[in-house]
């Protein structure tokens, strides 16, 4: 009963952490459907279950109940090696702390997912890598090391790395958490541009101001979805950068 239309479809996905005596039910039967081309913000306080959901959606963890289809593939029963291949081919990860390999050039960081790929025989990996870096505007910084790049540039390297394998979706976990406001808006502008080009992006955040730039907001609390609504008119990051409107957005107020 797979549905080729949806990028993500979960039915009654549950997750119980069992540490012997104490059982914690982190997710309580999540039904979720995300279509190609969506730009979704997943919100919630810590302990709401959003991180657990992200791990399951990212195939880093497995649900204890329910079904999860990713791009039409039933992920539940896959072996660890198959999950690794799914992560490699279908998912592009972006993390709060950038998670680039230190003392490794931007080019080599972006190339890394290609090196672990098993479906790219005979392709020009260097060309793919270069194209991904060009897409995020870092063509001139290819051979810089992470410590020679600003936070925003590092995050763009991470975005290039997430895109290089042409995944079905990009999963971004607090992608602006370590960045100042202006750089955050820049990164959001990059996301919006990529989304406009057709890439599905799921963005986890706890800030409403960030979520305002997404087309759909899903909010978690106590292991359940308490809100799932389309945003009629998301804010345009590129325009905010031009007008300087972002300064009034309240994002600067973060500690």
């Amino acid at each position: 009963m797979s549905d080729p239309q949806a990028v993500i479809r979960t039915t009654r996905v549950g997750k119980i952490y069992d540490s012997g005596e104490i059982q914690v039910e982190a997710l309580k039967g999540i039904d979720l459907r995300i279509e190609p081309g969506e730009l979704v913000a997943i919100m919630g306080a810590s302990g709401s279950g959003k991180s657990t959901m992200l791990n399951i959606l990212g195939c880093l963890d497995r649900a204890t109940s329910g079904d999860y289809f990713l791009d039409g593939i039933h992920v539940n029963d896959l072996a660890p090696d198959q999950l690794a291949d799914i992560r490699n081919r279908k998912i592009g990860f972006i993390f709060q702390g950038f998670n680039l390999l230190s003392r490794t050039s931007a080019f080599e960081n972006v190339e890394l997912p290609l090196l672990y790929s098993r479906h790219l025989e005979g392709q020009d990996l260097a060309a793919l890598t270069r194209r991904a870096l060009e897409r995020v505007g870092l063509a001139d910084r290819m051979h810089h090391f992470p410590n020679q790049l600003s936070g925003g540039q590092q995050q763009r390297v991470a975005i290039a790395r997430a895109l290089v394998n042409q995944p079905a979706m990009v999963l971004a976990d607090e992608p602006t958490g370590n960045l100042d406001t202006r750089t955050s808006i820049e990164i959001l502008a990059t996301f919006q541009e990529l989304n406009r080009q057709g890439i599905t992006i799921i963005l986890v955040t706890h800030e409403h101001d960030i979520a305002d730039y997404c087309k759909r907001i899903i909010e978690f609390r106590d292991g359940r979805i308490i809100r799932d609504q389309k945003v009629a008119e998301p804010r345009a990051a590129a325009r905010d950068l031009e007008t300087g409107h972002w300064q009034a957005s309240g994002l600067g107020e973060r500690p």
Binding site: L60, P80, R87, N99, L100, L101, P113, S117
Partner: protein, 405 residues
């Protein structure tokens, strides 16, 4: 991940921590170098012993008078039938696999000649003795069969005699009084040095057995009979033939015990070689222990490296590395470490062996097998001790690894 990339990644992480890499490799370097030097020294000792035994004449069979056995009670040597010149003649006449035969009559004597006097042993042998032992003369000549028939008082002296009585001058043509019997020196033996059992092999004079028997030892039997077989390959057959002829000569009935002993030099050679092989093995195993310790050093560093790079492993797993990719990455790192250490160890081993060769008078023999073996062993140590940390890395949970700072 492709091998090329895996090796690249391994080299990169090794180069990143130069000091640590060097210290880790040091264990392997010392281990491999120690194995090479120790085995080279052991093999050198083996070769030295081999050469010495070869110089004793490996085609040599020595017949000793055997012990007498009477109703199962064995008596001491000399208690039974003695060896005689008749036995020598029989061997000369009947043996086909024998190239040369000589009796040996031993006697001790005080020498007077040149500048003083000296006590030494006198060996009475036949004109074929030099051939049997593969000995050569440094000057003069050896006595002939005519000298033996005529019981001529000619003798050949060893270098120790030359040094002590003639101050190193060539004594050929000089007189030498052996237990008051005047002998003429007709030749000087080539220097042979100490035997492997510590005896001075140059402290002797050699004379015709006939002269020694009548003038010095005074009895009709001989102490040993020396036989040179036609070839090393036919030693066993020659020994069987000599035994058969001796039994006939001594009229030993079928089933009776030999009243003589035939000793084969190759037995002695084999024993000596075995002893030195054991020595080599011992040295090699002591050195191998340091190689093992080096391996434990690699394991230690790899475990630290895995812990230190947990976050990196998490990132790699998130972007699609399989457990096997991580395992192979760390395994290759361990093997590259140990093989680089092995290579440096081989070079240092060569250097140290060369220094030992220069600084001491020990013979050293570097065998290619040994070098390859210790190098291969270093690689095996890398795989063995790298596997546990690598498997630990591969088994990490990606979520926890990503969270690890």
């Amino acid at each position: 991940m492709k091998w090329k990339n895996l090796i690249k990644v391994a080299f990169k992480s090794i180069v990143k921590n130069k000091m640590r890499t060097l210290l880790t490799m040091l264990g392997i370097i010392i281990g491999v170098a120690a194995v090479i030097v120790m085995v080279a020294i052991g093999k050198g000792a083996e070769k030295r012993i081999q050469d010495q035994i070869a110089s004793m004449g490996t085609n040599l069979l020595t017949i000793f008078p055997g012990s007498m056995q009477s109703r199962g009670v064995r008596m001491g040597p000399d208690s039974g039938v003695q060896l005689t010149l008749e036995d020598v003649e029989r061997l000369k006449r009947d043996a086909t696999l024998v190239q040369a035969v000589s009796p040996m009559v031993r006697s001790g004597a005080q020498l007077i000649g040149g500048s003083g006097n000296w006590n030494t042993s006198v060996w009475g042998v036949s004109e074929q003795y030099l051939e049997i032992r593969d000995w050569t003369l440094s000057s003069g000549e050896f006595f002939s069969s005519a000298d033996i028939r005529a019981q001529n008082k000619s003798c050949v002296v060893g270098q120790t005699i030359v040094k002590n009585l003639f101050a190193g001058d060539d004594p050929v043509g000089q007189q030498l009084r052996v237990r008051n019997v005047p002998f003429r020196i007709i030749g000087v033996l080539q220097e042979r040095g100490q035997s492997s059992f510590g005896m001075d092999q140059d402290d002797l004079i050699i004379a015709p057995y006939s002269t020694v028997m009548t003038r010095l030892s005074g009895h009709a039997h001989v102490n040993q009979i020396l036989v040179r077989a036609v070839s090393l390959e036919q030693m066993d057959q020659a020994q069987a033939e000599v035994t058969r002829i001796m039994r006939e000569a001594h009229r030993i009935p079928e089933g009776g015990d030999d009243d003589f002993t035939v000793r084969n030099q190759t037995d002695i050679a084999a024993t000596a070689q075995e002893t030195s092989s054991v020595l080599t093995m011992l040295l090699a195993s002591i050195a191998s222990i340091s190689l093992l310790v080096g391996g434990i050093g690699i394991m230690n560093i790899m475990l630290v490296s895995v812990t230190e790079r947990t976050h990196e492993i998490g990132i790699r797993m998130a972007i699609g590395a399989r457990g096997r990719d991580i395992l192979v990455q760390f395994l290759i790192e361990a093997v590259v470490l140990s093989l680089s250490g092995g290579l440096i160890g081989v070079l240092i081993g060569f250097l140290a062996t060369w220094i030992v060769n220069m600084a001491t008078d020990w013979i050293t023999v570097i065998s290619p097998t040994n070098v390859l073996l210790s190098f291969g062993f270093a690689g095996a140590v890398g795989i063995f001790f790298g596997y546990y940390p690598a498997r630990k890395a591969a088994a990490l949970n990606p979520i926890e690894a990503l969270r690890y700072e």
